[in-house]
Symmetry: C2
Subunit: 470 residues, 2 copies
């Protein structure tokens, strides 16, 4: 396999100008070069340094994306697909300049096939907008990262969220994609059949590719029936280990829990303050069960028995929508709740994922590490998958604290990988985690990724500088 | 993208001889060139003409596969990975000669991680052997094509089977693969964490690649807890349409059915005769529910209500293992039952898959087509996925009948593709369905597959002549 690397330089104005000239007649005021807009299209939610594109294009259709790609390809100008900008690892930065291709105006729900439990959407539709659209059909799309991300962005980062333990990740819920490849071709990755053995899995090749192989312009997604009954509850534990052990047994016994989330004491404190809760500040599991009325009652009862085995409890659960909603809104606001713990600090959210048998060990070692460093870094996680988040709050003016945090984050990833885990369970690689890919995957796998990238994007114009290490 | 095609010729003895010479010291009598063994490694279960390899190698380890690949690569000799030879579309034929790499001696269960619900196996382990191994751990692997196929082969063809409606296909149940690439490198596609957003999905790139990108030498598979309770039942219907409509409503209402299989009247007749059943010879659904005792009772009751809406019934169900086992053994023996309908005839099993909303229409049109042609061709299917099988029985000495059947199979695929379906839901492409890939995927998607193939296997030595049309 060839493994030529592209050590790019930032594109020059000479390259960008003809692209802008070519696209202006097509896009008009949907092609923007103001500094404010360009800066909004950098990596804004983390400490990864912002690297603005030269311009931002707002296409309305697959055909317009084709025109954008062709214009950029002709001058080897990078394109960076942009959803809502809620990624954490530098995914939308433009280290080599070029065009940010902002999909936020492609927000049509193209077709709902209720009888097939699927929906066809444009990539700018957000998960909340989709579920709003679906609500009176009795259907929902389960993948829920904290942010109200766009579905194109969620596919690109192989996102998941609290429901993944039951419903899988984007990998499992994308039936088919339409994408514009670096050569301007429009590819349809699969038919609408529920399964297929017909050729290479192009759908899964693009899911998680972070826009480095093409720009997603349409998605066919699997839907699920809104469960007849939902029960949600919370359960305090004496230790993180006890909580993790309860999670492990829950998963092992095959209890079809829909959500099972761990909050460490600091995270509980943040949520109490931000979401006006009054939970005891101890390790806590938030859980949810989906099914029939009898089914969720049975599940909740069994879960209560499991928690008691690990000295957890009391396990309190409710089926009333208001009570559930209050809890899960608090969980989804965790990111913002954390940021209020230390006003003015920079939040540096990250995630790792390990086999569930190593979860307690990994979370505990991480807690001890946090304590030893003195960092303020709550832990919250989709622990049913072995996936957890750490969100240090850093005073960026304090160089020593920044260095301490960087070293902590490195240890976190090495720890997860040493436990047969991954450097990211759901956030993606972007720029910031490229350096871990060799350690995680090994050289042959990285060479295989490079060979695929080079075969499909030989000029390295699709989101260059992401995923694959230089 | 480059799309250079390799119009290969069969390798010459001059190329094969040095490979055999290089490998004989390593493999000894595990390198076989007798005609009988070579013929056993061709496509034996269908009417695709057998094309024997020049030799058959039986490696014991990943390292031996590396040596085989390096020796073959040095002389551009094709390699055809071989599991149990139960594929239907010419997957294991050697149109250009070369070595069949038979994995049947790599049968170790390397590790069972019960607490993580995963298992590491060598590719020659069959699904039944794995489940036998797992039984007293309370775990099982759900993917069950009719044959007792090898897990490496099942991954390579993206197999599924009766449980897919509940547990997914091989795509959903492979956590990670070890494979030897055409360049002799050993790639590990993923870590053992339950989910990851770390780079391209190499696992899914190899699942369904039919050995055209590398040889799988180890698999990490997801396991599931054996359900506490299982209920199985059968339900007759007045018409195929009524049965399909009942399936559609079952799926739409989110009833978590584990298996839901359609047998047309001819298939019922064959099963009655072969498996000593006495079912009414009318369209029939076989169903199974997994869960708690209360859960399966609730599911069965609801299913009974749904069937009644479509004039199906009586729906009879049982939780006794013997009764269930008798039914499902009959279902798994469908292939063999069909062959007994017309002794001496050649069985030509095939499958297509359509969105479930089109299922009734597709099956009915296919039934009418069968009737019009006069073919003997039972229909049986994993209808919860929109996937069904047709198994014509052909007198190969009757050229006209062969021609009628070929035309029928073409119409079947065109019909499925016209209904947004796929030319194969679970059997794979092999040689026989390559001609449909352009119609199904379109040129840009095929070019994308070609580019990936060429990037990873530039000399076209891994199972050449499969999947991608010449």
């Amino acid at each position: 396999m060839e493994t030529k690397t592209h050590r790019r330089q930032r594109v020059t104005a000479d390259a960008v100008e003809p692209v802008l000239a070519a696209l202006t007649p097509l896009l008009g005021n949907r092609l923007v070069t103001t500094e404010a807009v360009r800066m909004q299209h950098t990596n804004t939610l983390t400490w990864v340094d912002p690297e603005p594109p030269d311009a931002v294009a707002y296409p309305l259709s697959t055909q317009e994306v084709v025109e954008i790609v062709k214009a950029c390809a002709a001058h080897r100008v990078p394109m960076i697909p942009f959803g809502t900008g809620t990624s954490f690892e530098g995914h939308v930065n433009a280290p080599y300049g070029g065009l940010s291709v902002d999909m936020s105006m492609m927000t049509s729900v193209v077709a709902v096939h209720a009888e097939d439990l699927d929906v066809v959407v444009q990539p700018g539709v957000t998960r909340k907008a989709l579920n709003e659209h679906l609500r009176d059909r009795g259907l929902f799309f389960p993948i829920d990262p904290g942010a109200d991300a766009s579905l194109g962005g969620m596919a690109s980062t192989r996102a998941s969220g609290t429901n993944a333990v039951r419903y899988g990740t984007m990998k499992d819920n994308v039936l088919s994609l339409t994408a514009v490849l670096p050569n301007g071709e429009v590819v349809h990755t699969a038919r609408r059949a529920r399964k297929s053995s017909s050729g290479y899995d192009l759908t899964r090749l693009l899911v998680g590719a972070e826009g480095t192989l093409g720009i997603i312009t349409e998605l066919t997604l699997k839907l699920h029936g809104i469960p007849e009954a939902v029960a949600a509850g919370i359960c305090p534990f004496p230790s993180v280990k006890a909580a993790c052990d309860a999670v492990i047994l829950t998963i092992q016994t095959g209890l079809p829990v829909a959500r099972i989330e761990l909050l460490d004491p600091l995270m509980v404190r943040a949520s109490n303050a931000y979401s006006q809760l009054s939970l005891p500040e101890t390790p806590m599991l938030f859980v949810e069960f989906h099914g029939t009325s009898a089914g969720v009652a049975e599940q909740a009862e069994r879960f209560g028995e499991i928690t008691a085995e690990f000295e957890g409890g009391p396990f309190e659960w409710a089926t009333k929508a208001e009570d559930r909603s209050r809890l899960w809104t608090a969980r989804h606001n965790a990111y913002w709740a954390v940021t209020t713990l230390r006003p003015g600090a920079r939040s540096v959210p990250t995630d790792v994922c390990v086999p569930i048998s190593r979860l307690a060990e990994c979370v505990e070692a991480t807690s001890r590490d946090i304590e030893a460093t003195g960092l303020i870094a709550p832990i919250v996680g989709h622990v049913g998958d072995g996936n957890f988040h750490v969100q240090p709050l850093i005073d960026m003016a304090d160089a020593e604290e920044v260095a301490v945090c960087k070293a902590f984050l490195e240890r976190l990833v090495h720890r997860a990988i040493a436990m047969e885990g991954t450097c990211t369970g759901e956030h993606g690689v972007g720029q910031a985690k490229r350096k871990y890919l060799m350690e995680e995957h090994g050289r042959p796998a990285l060479d295989m990724m490079r060979a695929v990238k080079q075969a499909l994007d030989p000029d390295d114009i699709m989101n260059p500088g992401k995923i694959i290490p230089a």
